[in-house]
């Protein structure tokens, strides 16, 4: 009993260390990846001086940030000013605890599950951590005692609360399809058919809502430099600023992983049953591809105006995600009750039609605004 207890603790410790260190390294190389990819899209070269292909650039950046002077504004709330970056950082790390990185593998004579915590309320755990993540940014804005920082913090809290609803509903859509809230069950339910095929609109809604949740372009309102200098982290410098930076990029990695699990089949892929260690590799490939889409969006879309951001979240995304959840649930219920799989396949058709209708409404509205008539 004692022995197995100890080895269990050791297993948890090793898994937590691997995930944490993986996220930290992932953050460092995500900055490099983003700068190179952005440069490529904008017909530049990007950082390529430090090391081969600029691969040592993140290390140089880290050294620079560590040795930078740290300033604390005289009238800042010292305690919260210190803790705000930490409070931002913690959710972005612990949210990764429930992500399954692969099927159970056998190693050293014991079965090891490739996720830190296999909660049966995994999706709800994600939701609760996502709703707590806003505190760091709000407190950073308030404790800086700076108007711009404060406005950035308030904007971000309003934005994150608004888009959390659409996010929660697209979580619910995936739960309905998998009939479970456990992340592992959701992945296994996609054996044979990824949920993105059944519910493409749900995946897109999830993607848009998470872009707003992690404050990425085109929803990077809290740090819109033309309006707010640097938003909530205007007063931060040195390592404290680096923590905000790290949190943002780790959140990018984590939400890509969550999207991969919920809609793109997680660790599933060809031959994954015969070679379980292929699971994490498929997962990482999917994450890198999804991250590329995020960078691509940043390179091609301008930031949208704040009132339009809120209008989009409340008047378009929320009703659409409600409709999507309703369509999915009723499709499954009808297919179950009548035994006719045709109803199941009506889900993607009706959802895409609803999505196209929404796009048409937006287009009409924009034309009306531009020309003063329909």
């Amino acid at each position: 009993m004692m022995v197995s207890d100890w080895s269990l603790w050791l297993e948890w410790l090793i898994k937590s260390l691997v995930v944490t260190l993986g996220l930290l390294t992932g953050f460092a190389y995500l900055t490099w990846y983003e700068r190179r990819a952005l440069a490529r899209i904008q017909a530049r070269i990007g950082p390529n001086r430090a090391g081969p292909q600029g691969l040592l650039q993140p290390i140089a950046d880290a050294v620079k940030l560590i040795f930078k002077e740290e300033l604390v504004p005289a009238k800042a709330d010292k305690m919260l000013f210190f803790w705000a970056p930490v409070i931002t950082m913690i959710p972005s790390l612990i949210i990764a605890a429930v992500i399954p990185w692969g099927p159970a593998i056998e190693m050293f004579g014991r079965v090891i599950r490739l996720s830190i915590a296999d909660l049966n309320v995994g999706v709800l755990y994600l939701m609760s951590i996502a709703s707590i993540a806003v505190y760091g940014i709000v407190l950073a804005g308030w404790s800086s005692n700076n108007k711009y920082a404060m406005l950035g913090g308030l904007r971000s809290s309003a934005q994150m609360i608004s888009y959390e609803l659409a996010l929660g509903l697209s979580f619910a859509t995936s739960i309905i399809l998998a009939n479970s809230m456990r992340m592992l069950d959701i992945v296994e339910a996609q054996r044979g058919l990824w949920f993105v095929v059944v519910q493409p609109v749900g995946a897109v809604i999830f993607w848009i809502a998470t872009l707003a949740e992690v404050n990425r372009a085109p929803f990077d309102m809290p740090e819109a430099e033309q309006e707010l200098t640097a938003g909530y982290h205007a007063e931060y410098s040195g390592m404290k600023f680096a923590l905000f930076f790290m949190a943002e990029y780790q959140k990018m990695i984590v939400v890509s992983a969550i999207l991969a699990v919920l809609y793109f089949g997680g660790y599933l892929g060809p031959f994954v049953d015969r070679f379980p260690w292929l699971g994490p590799i498929y997962m990482i490939i999917k994450i890198i591809l999804l991250l590329f889409v995020m960078i691509w969006v940043r390179a091609t879309w301008p930031r949208i105006r704040y009132d339009r951001l809120m209008a989009f979240g409340w008047k378009i995304l929320l009703p659409l995600s409600l409709a999507i959840a309703f369509i999915t649930a009723s499709g499954i219920l009808l297919a179950e009750m009548s035994g006719n799989p045709l109803y199941f396949w009506a889900i993607p058709v009706v959802s895409v039609l609803a999505g196209l209708f929404t796009v048409a409404v937006i287009y009409r509205e924009l034309r009306r605004k531009a020309y003063g008539r329909v």
Binding site: Y125, S131, I132, V138, G141, W142, I161, E164, S180, M181
Partner: protein, 175 residues
């Protein structure tokens, strides 16, 4: 002395301490943050009692959504620092009396009702969450459909009320 009891005692101390911190803090932001900690501690209590769904809902709804709105309003109004409070002469004795009555009452109830059962803290694992969720949904939508719908109408009315109150008249100035 089981591990559950130790966990419970530690959590109870944290919960009481954060509640006291919320009451005594002179800065509204700190009060709100103490309340967040308190809510999270209560969520851990739910986990201890084997109700992970309620625990996560508690964090999402109370610690997440509602308290963020509280912080939002406190910051927007700039009402962080409380002014020095005027002492109401009758407030202290009344509060002390009520607190003592509450403490005595709960002590009596704990002593008489909770003791014989013995199993105040059931084991927290091996609970099928989706099954309990399904049971929750069935109960809510079959046995308690009318109260549920009435609650939703109430929320809708509150929402419409807020919209009417903050609406700007057409062509008028925002006061």
């Amino acid at each position: 002395m089981t591990i559950n009891l130790i966990l419970f005692l530690v959590l109870a101390v944290i919960a009481v301490a954060t509640a006291l911190g919320m009451l005594t803090s002179r800065n509204a932001i700190y009060s709100a943050l103490f309340l967040v900690l308190n809510f999270v501690t209560v969520a851990v209590f739910y986990l201890l009692l084997g109700a992970p769904f309620i625990a996560m809902a508690q964090i999402t709804v109370y610690a997440g959504a509602i308290m963020v709105l509280f912080l939002f309003v406190i910051m927007l109004l700039g009402a962080e620092r409380l002014p020095d409070s005027r002492v109401l002469p009758w407030q202290k004795p009344l509060a002390i009396t009520l607190a003592v009555v509450l403490a005595l009452e709960s002590a009596y109830l704990l002593w008489t009702k909770a003791r014989p059962a013995g199993n105040v803290l059931p084991p927290g694992d091996e609970i099928n969450t989706v099954e309990t969720l399904r049971a929750l949904g069935m109960t809510l939508f079959n046995d308690y459909l009318l109260p549920f719908e009435v609650t939703s109408v109430l929320l809708l009315v509150a929402m419409i009320g807020v919209i009417v109150l903050v609406r700007r008249e057409k062509g008028g100035q925002k006061s």
